[in-house]
Symmetry: C2
Subunit: 778 residues, 2 copies
């Protein structure tokens, strides 16, 4: 495993680098991203750099630039700080740089950057630190220390709010007033063009020489979309200048703010915040990280290599930094780490990230699912627009009420020269099933009957209503088909009867039938309400009529489930040369999409994803046959592919394969290839990292509604310890090569392991001998 | 005189520099601006650089970003070309740079940049050239040659259309289709948000190795607002790669294009244009520069110092590059050289630039005045909005029908912290007089009766109608006053009876009375038309009633005309320390605007401007008294100040003073101070340069409708030759210390010089002995 960042044997919460060259600039910005779920910033330098991608986002503040789909606006920059030493602007390409080091503390999100800048024969030491608070979600604090042991320095600093930010130059914000309070609090107001969300940004500075606070008010300069405070300090040799920047952001959709008093209240909040110094502010945030995150999702890997532990820390850090805690919002495919996918939410949340939250922070999982409940209106809109019924969830979701937000048109076709239609928003329909899958898992893992009654059952019924209207009756064969879709394998743009889509559609209807019968019997009041709302009687009749005649592709004589009607008859090609992990989209240098459409090439787990999600439907021979058939035909040119393959390989006892895909997945963001680093992280890969660790190697799965724990520890790991939540109890699991130790805090639980059922009493524990695994090595 | 650019004794059409450091980057971008009046580009490097200001504008394509006033959109960039040598991106901050030289040919607008880049032990020679065509106004052509004498090179080039441009991050353009034609013509379409102007940008490349055309089609990559062609070439030592980029732009408001066929027609045009190689294309453009510009405005200075000749060449070059030839458009205060003043037109055109056009290219002057005629609708709108009548011309003008486009709010007041109102658009009213002044000059110089009848007279009458409604009757003193205005001196924000405003208002009404009587008598048809349109009978009565009772401040006992009612009673301070030419707005570091409002401090020629424009109204003693009084109280903190002072000093025989202000004015843009270089050139200073040279030193003036030529040659100049147009004839004037030679091509002319009247017969000439001047030196 090769990482782009340095790690530290003694501190698995550390990622860092001594490299300040321009090639990796965007990669480090992405990987060292800072956020608290509400607000997020890429790890750009304080001073402007060529080819940087300076992004700050606030979750959920979607806006549409004219003629474009909605996206998260890139907000005015608060990080900016331009320093001149003896009149020379700090630029790492000028003079010489020594002892450069930049690192991110994954445990509390503090980013530091230190170096000596040798300029005009003076050596100047810089020490930058900054964090986004987990204690006060609106707050960003940064500090720089400047000193020279040998020389006098004149230091000029310019820092403030720089609104010259945009999304690839699409500007969402209309400029509002720029204000100054008490001569030192600077404020910028702004409003989104189309969604009319108000923003208020505030900054104040404190400046010290050798810990003595200077009382000078800044010289303020303002211009279009800019307001800065300017300072000029003379330092003697050996003196240290400490400059602290306190900044905050409030919006009119904040749950914790009065939209009519944003300007005053936000200044008052910043006044209070700036009473604490940098370290005090950081400590408050640090405590919240510990209490809200680390105490809930403990994972400990004992291995010679520290990178697996760094990777799981990184994944959990990034998930915490990118997950909004407001149910009107969800996790973007790239979180709030970059402009890629416009901050939109995909099935990535339900299939790749929700297992983590469902098992460790069910309250967060509930928020994320509530987002889909709030999205029913948009899902109805989408269904109606396509002449379907029920809830057809959008392929890309932003504000939940918006419905589909996938772009309609992409780049020009190289052959025709004309823009190509983007089909995902129209025919990539399995997301509606994926949401039901996540809800069922959540209900099993938590037993949250309140959520089931309030929201969960309704979503399931409404989703099944969509599928029912979506089915196409094939009179000749008396079956219901689903034609012209994109399945998980996005290389096949107009597939008929994609196995994943058809199986999950049928399963949704089966679940809806169960829910219908359950509530009719056990909760007549709820039944009545939903029956009226969803016209359940008629819908139920359709389900019953359709459910057993839905065409679900069966394994062929070799045990292979056809990915779709066409796939198995397509041309075979050697895919191995495109299975590279260090570049993306290499296949498109050889073939275009319509050519790939005619070949047995799969982008990512499709049939294998079905097998992972519904393992009980298929026996081990079928699983192995499909693995043998599809994996060699898969380019894995999607960050969603590796984790599924790793877990399935664990299940199949292919331990080396499992670890190979695990390593590939770890390298999705942390690896040395640059990829689309400028566009942001792969949040699904972060979720996948936890899934591979806890579901794959740790063996945790929900099996017919029951907890199952069947670990497959990698050969290089001495032990694995993790903590999950099962129906309200905390379950701590420790695994080494031979034994598994299960401890429960809270009510007793039941679980299954290798065919045996176990019970752990309330606040009790249990030790199990693990079966000796056959080691299948290459 | 110190210039930021190098000049060349032997070639006064040359400005250049060996400096590629970052401090002057924006200054050189501005000074070496390229344009053809239709299209303009700042002289940024092909490769992106930190702190660059990359701007391209098309005249007249105004658009308003929500909540902002209209401005010229900064358009997708066509200059871009990123080169990698052996995988290393060209960046002048990496490796070493030798023999760097960048220069602009003022005669044909060609910009060149050459250097050797030493990287990874290879020396690579680069030679860039580019121009905007004067032959085909839509066309931009650039070329780069890359070679290494000693080493093999791999060269990767990426070039295309980069729409990631904006105005300080306000984005005007909605993205349209990106297209590809014949695999090598790349196209980007766009449309302004509010004004709905369509743009089409096209690019194609040709690539040669040692003059052999490579036939490879580019690898195309597209993303948001971007479309690029990519090339990869291996060069042997000694081989030269030549890369030519042809680009064009069309808009839906082009007079020479069919708005419904822009996409196809523009590609067809680029196909035709790309049949010529770089040099052929340049020659076509070169010929048009010669024929349309240089043959019409000849100015030759014989002096030891080459800088005066460079300065006048620079001024004429920039005027040609920034003046649209479409009467719906005008010259912005910063032309199309930067985002300053948003491309808006001010009185700068009429008072500072029109003399040049009226005297050298009357057809251009007519276009510029026609713009004001087309602006009558907007001027009516503005008058009505303020409860006035007639045509109140906007302080800032964009699309002529828009009326006032001055912004309403500026930066926050440092004291109150609240945004300050910008008063110019409300009370800086003298622009309406300035337009009438320019029209009268144009009519005198050209005798263009068609313009007078079609537009000129109507503007004069309508302007006087405004002034009549604007006057405030002071019953006590039985006079008409004009209170609460900003005069030319913008330090005084709410002045009463500003001398310049009151005198010119009265003069406008006097002119209108004359026009009224003239057309009533000589052109009854026109009279009838305008009488109906403007309700002239009633208006005329008001004029007659008001005109002699308008309060025009008279000289006091010392001969000083009070700038306004308050000025002479304000506090006196020492202004000399703020009279610096190397920084702007220095006074605001000592005083704020309300303090300055209470002091006898003047920003720029105000009473002295009145005296310059209406020299016959005041005798020499009054002129001298006001010079003595106001000049020491003037900070000259406006680029409009120096040229007026220089000309007036010439008139007063203060030759050293005249030359001092001349030099200061030359340094406005060409000088070494950085100023607001990022925001663009001072077009009025370019006009002022011609005015100082031809009106001041050359002595040309319109005196009671007659041509007057009374030169005052600077001591350091051996001779001055220039050419003007007088009533359709070309007049060539040559001046040395003792004699003046006047040659006429065309009909004979009359002129006055030092109290004598002269006649030059058709196609004849005349030599006059000049009076010996008293030399007043310090």
């Amino acid at each position: 495993m090769k990482f782009c960042v340095d790690t530290n044997e003694k501190n698995s919460w550390y990622i860092g680098t001594n490299d300040y060259g321009s090639k990796m600039i965007n990669k480090f910005e992405t990987v060292m991203f800072q956020g608290n779920g509400y607000m997020g910033m890429r790890a750009v330098a304080e001073e402007k750099q060529l080819h940087e991608q300076r992004d700050m986002f606030i979750s959920g503040t979607f806006d549409a630039f004219p003629n474009e789909v909605t996206e998260l606006p890139n907000l005015p920059d608060l990080i900016n700080l331009e320093i001149k030493v003896d009149g020379q602007p700090l630029c790492l390409k000028d003079g010489y740089v020594e002892n450069y080091h930049k690192s991110l503390n994954l445990k509390n999100g503090e980013l530091t950057r230190t170096f000596d800048w040798i300029i005009n024969n003076k050596a100047v030491h810089f020490n930058y630190r900054r964090f986004i608070s987990m204690y006060d979600k609106h707050l960003f604090v940064s500090q720089v220390e400047v000193s020279s042991a040998q020389d006098e320095l004149n230091v000029q600093l310019s820092s403030g709010i720089d609104g010259r930010q945009s999304n690839d130059e699409s500007q969402h914000l209309m400029e509002g007033d720029k204000r100054l309070y008490d001569g030192q609090y600077i404020q910028m107001q702004a409003e989104t063009q189309q969604s009319h969300i108000d923003f208020v940004f505030n900054v104040r500075h404190k400046i010290y020489v050798d810990e003595v606070l200077l009382s000078d008010k800044p010289y303020i300069n303002m211009s279009r979309r800019q307001i800065f405070g300017n300072y000029n300090v003379d330092l003697q040799a050996g003196q240290t200048l400490t400059f602290i920047k306190y900044a905050n952001v409030y919006t009119s959709i904040d749950q914790d703010a009065d939209p009519n008093k944003l300007t005053d209240d936000s200044v008052a909040a910043l006044k209070r915040a700036s009473l604490s110094n940098y370290n005090e502010s950081l400590q408050k945030s640090d405590r919240v990280w510990n209490h809200n995150i680390w105490q809930k999702n403990y994972v400990q890997i004992d291995s010679e290599d520290e990178k697996p532990q760094v990777a799981i820390n990184f994944a959990r850090y990034q998930l915490a930094a990118n997950t909004p805690l407001d149910p009107r919002m969800n996790i973007g495919a790239k979180g709030i780490t970059g402009e890629g996918y416009k901050g939109h939410t995909f099935w990535d949340t339900e299939i790749f990230m929700l297992p983590y939250y469902t098992f460790t922070m069910p309250d967060v999982a509930k928020n994320l699912l509530t987002y889909r409940y709030l999205g029913l209106q948009g899902a109805h809109k989408k269904a109606q627009g396509n002449n379907y019924q029920g809830a057809q969830f959008p392929w890309e979701a932003a504000d939940p009420t918006d419905g589909e937000t996938a772009p309609l048109w992409g780049s020009a076709d190289i052959v025709t020269g004309k823009p190509m239609k983007i089909w995902s928003g129209f025919i990539e329909q399995h997301v509606t099933s994926d949401i039901v899958i996540a809800i069922m898992d959540y209900l099993h893992a938590t037993g949250d009957q309140v959520f089931a009654d309030d929201m969960g059952y309704e979503i399931i019924l409404d989703a099944a209503k969509f599928w029912s209207s979506r089915l196409e009756y094939n009179e000749e064969q008396d079956v219901y088909e689903i034609n012209d879709v994109i399945g998980p394998d996005e290389y096949k743009e107009h597939a008929d009867n994609n196995a994943f889509t058809n199986y999950t559609a049928q399963w949704c209807i089966q679940k809806a039938i169960k829910v219908y019968n359950l509530i009719k019997e056990e909760n007549p009041e709820l039944y009545l309400k939903l029956s009226n709302k969803l016209n359940l009687e008629t819908t139920y009749e359709s389900w019953i009529n359709q459910v057993n005649r839905i065409y679900v592709p069966q394994p062929n004589i070799e045990g292979v489930i056809p990915e779709d009607d066409q796939y198995l008859s397509l041309k075979n090609v050697d895919v191995s040369k495109f299975q590279v992990n260090d570049q993306i989209s290499t296949i498109f240098k050889t073939y275009n999409l319509s050519q790939i459409n005619q070949m047995q090439i799969t982008k990512q787990a499709d049939v294998l994803l079905l097998i992972y999600l519904f393992e009980n439907m298929f026996d081990d021979n079928i699983k192995q046959s499909n693995w043998n058939y599809y994996e060699p035909r898969t380019t894995h040119d999607s960050s969603l592919s590796q984790s599924i393959h790793s877990i399935l390989a664990s299940d199949l006892g292919l331990n080396d394969e499992a670890y190979k895909f695990y390593e590939m997945s770890c390298e999705t963001d942390l690896g040395i290839h640059i990829g689309k680093a400028i566009r942001g992280l792969h949040m699904a890969a972060c979720g996948g990292l936890w899934n591979m660790t806890v579901e794959g190697f740790g063996g945790v799965r929900i099996d017919n509604g029951k907890l199952r724990i069947e670990p497959h520890l990698p050969a290089s790991w001495n032990s694995l310890k993790y903590q999950i939540n099962w129906q309200g109890s905390t379950v701590r699991v420790g695994i080494d090569g031979e034994k598994m130790f299960v401890q429960v805090i809270g009510d007793g639980i039941e679980f299954v392991s290798y065919g045996r059922e176990y019970q752990v009493p309330a606040n009790g524990s249990l030790e199990i001998e693990l079966p000796v695994e056959e080691t299948v090595t290459d």
